[in-house]
């Protein structure tokens, strides 16, 4: 499958601090790729480099077939959508007027405003002045702003960080729909459930380096001990090793009707991150 983002040997140094060091990854067309890491791990720096807001110190970077020196051209910017900590709205204007501005800047049809507002569950709030909106509502308008021109590639930096679970779930469904329509999404998050639910592949970023990268299920399998956790009707909790001897014993327990619950030992992405870096993913 075609790579939409290709990063080889990315290095970013701020004065004497190494923020990114020898980072390699790619994002395939049509996938949702998650960059996971705690605050200060380099997630936002990566997004800023990939969108042209920062210049890399060294490394070979290609996004949508364009090298990093093309990232500030209109042809590049019209194909990407960004939601980051640098995204903002005009507080004195209405939601509609904010989106109308960006519709015109991106030469998108004005009908797209209603469509995008519906996607972020804000169709009734178009006439409201932005300063009167809650933080979560503003985040949804920012997301609408990033999607208004139907970009091929969307960069989302912590897209649901300010949202309550209900609205976050609504946004997740919207992003999945967007992805099904062919949009490639690169998102950063420290929300494990979000990454597991949305991402086709994830990369763990810590101290400016990628520590691990794969499909969430594959990672959970890779770091599993493969033990069976069994709870019996008598209230006993057993951990059985995944081998032939245990299989016979488990089979017997099932036949005897002793097993209440049984599951394999699959760690969460957060537990894997902790195992790899010794840090909590917050």
């Amino acid at each position: 499958m075609e790579n939409v983002v290709q990063v080889n040997g990315l290095r970013k140094v701020f004065h004497e601090n190494i923020a990114m060091d020898d980072v390699h990854f790619n994002v395939k067309k049509g996938e949702i790729f998650g960059l996971l890491g705690p605050s200060g791990s380099g997630k936002t720096t990566t997004i800023k480099i990939l969108t042209g807001e920062l210049k890399p110190s060294s490394g070979d970077i290609e996004v949508l077939g364009m090298k990093s020196d093309m990232f500030q051209t209109a042809s590049f910017q019209s194909q990407i959508g960004i939601l980051s900590d640098n995204s903002a709205l005009y507080e004195r204007l209405t939601v509609y007027d904010n989106l109308k501005l960006f519709c015109k800047l991106y030469s998108a049809p004005l009908q797209q405003i209603a469509v995008t507002l519906r996607e972020v569950n804000m169709e009734k709030e178009g006439g409201k002045v932005v300063s009167k909106l809650s933080k979560g509502m503003k985040q949804r308008v920012l997301l609408a702003k990033a999607l208004i021109h139907q970009p091929k590639l969307v960069f989302l930096d912590e897209p649901t960080s300010a949202l309550d679970p209900g609205n976050a779930a609504y946004i997740h469904r919207g992003l999945q729909k967007l992805n099904e329509a062919g949009t490639t999404i690169l998102l950063t998050t420290h929300n494990m459930e979000e990454a597991t639910e949305l991402c086709d592949r994830v990369a763990f970023l810590d101290q400016g380096k990628i520590q691990e990268m794969d499909n969430p299920d594959a990672l959970r399998y890779k770091y599993s001990t493969h033990n069976f956790h069994i709870e019996t009707f008598e209230g006993k909790k057993l951990v059985m090793i995944n081998d032939v001897k245990s299989a016979d014993k488990i089979g017997q327990m099932i036949a005897d009707g002793q097993v209440k619950t049984m599951h394999t030992d699959h760690p969460t992405l957060g537990q894997i991150f902790l195992k790899l870096t010794g840090k909590e993913l917050v």
């Binding site: 800023k48 969108t51 042209g52 807001e53 920062l54 210049k55 500030q72 209109a74 042809s75 910017q77 019209s78 960004i82 640098n86 995204s87 903002a88 709205l89 005009y90 507080e91 004195r92 204007l93 007027d97 109308k100 501005l101 960006f102 015109k104 800047l105 991106y106 030469s107 702003k145």
Partner: protein, 231 residues
């Protein structure tokens, strides 16, 4: 340049401007000042210098101050990054954002000069001088607005600009001798050059103002490029 993008930025700024009370009040200052000056000598022809005091106040209080506040607010609230990261070019953003200020400046200047006496300014060289002076204050305002990074710091920068470039004709009233170094330096400033232009047939003063415009444009461009990236 992309007309639709320029129009979109202008339309947004106009709506924003009309909801900003502080900005709406700025054009009143030179108009009231022109009215007071007119009362000082009703029926008399106003000295050219008086006209340039009004021009200086208009360009510093309306042109430079408004565009400075607008750019600094965009910079502070991070909305400028949204414009820069869109397909709009440097020229689209600068022209789009300058139109509202230009429109307000034009109305204020015409009204003020009509009150004070506009005759001295109704010739090609004077009009060209006023256009160049507008561009100087506009570019300086945009540059400082981008450099200031917040609305609160704009007030710190606007005062020296007003006194140095807007109130330069006041120096004449301070009674400095012709040999005074400060006077010699200030005579090179744009408004002094335009006042001097009225006493001669030379186009050199306009050339001098042109150099100031180019310097301000370079300053604005450097500030814009620095704003474009986080490095």
């Amino acid at each position: 340049m992309h007309l639709q993008r320029i129009h979109a930025i202008f339309e947004k700024d106009m709506k924003d401007f009309m909801k900003n009370t502080m900005m709406l009040l700025m054009p009143i200052v030179p108009i009231i000042l022109a009215f007071f000056y007119r009362q000082m000598g009703p029926g008399e022809e106003m000295p050219v210098m008086m006209g340039y005091i009004i021009v200086g106040v208009t360009y510093s209080a309306v042109t430079a101050n408004c565009i400075m506040a607008m750019m600094a607010e965009e910079n502070e609230k991070k909305t400028l990054r949204g414009l820069i990261m869109s397909p709009a070019s440097f020229l689209d953003v600068i022209i789009g954002k300058s139109l509202v200020t230009g429109f307000m400046t034009l109305i204020t200047l015409v009204l003020s000069l009509l009150i004070l006496g506009i005759d001295s300014f109704l010739n090609t060289r004077a009009i060209l001088g006023l256009v160049l002076l507008f561009l100087f204050f506009l570019f300086l305002g945009i540059g400082v607005g981008l450099f200031a990074k917040s609305i609160s710091t704009v007030s710190v920068y606007v005062m020296p600009i007003m006194f140095l470039f807007g109130f330069t004709p006041m120096i004449e009233l301070m009674g400095l001798s012709e040999d005074n170094l400060v006077k010699k330096i200030l005579d090179l400033f744009p408004i002094s050059q335009l006042i001097e232009m009225h006493d001669s047939a030379s186009w050199l003063p306009l050339g001098m103002v042109g150099i100031w415009v180019v310097a301000a444009a370079l300053f604005m461009y450097v500030c814009f490029i620095k704003t474009r990236q986080d490095d």
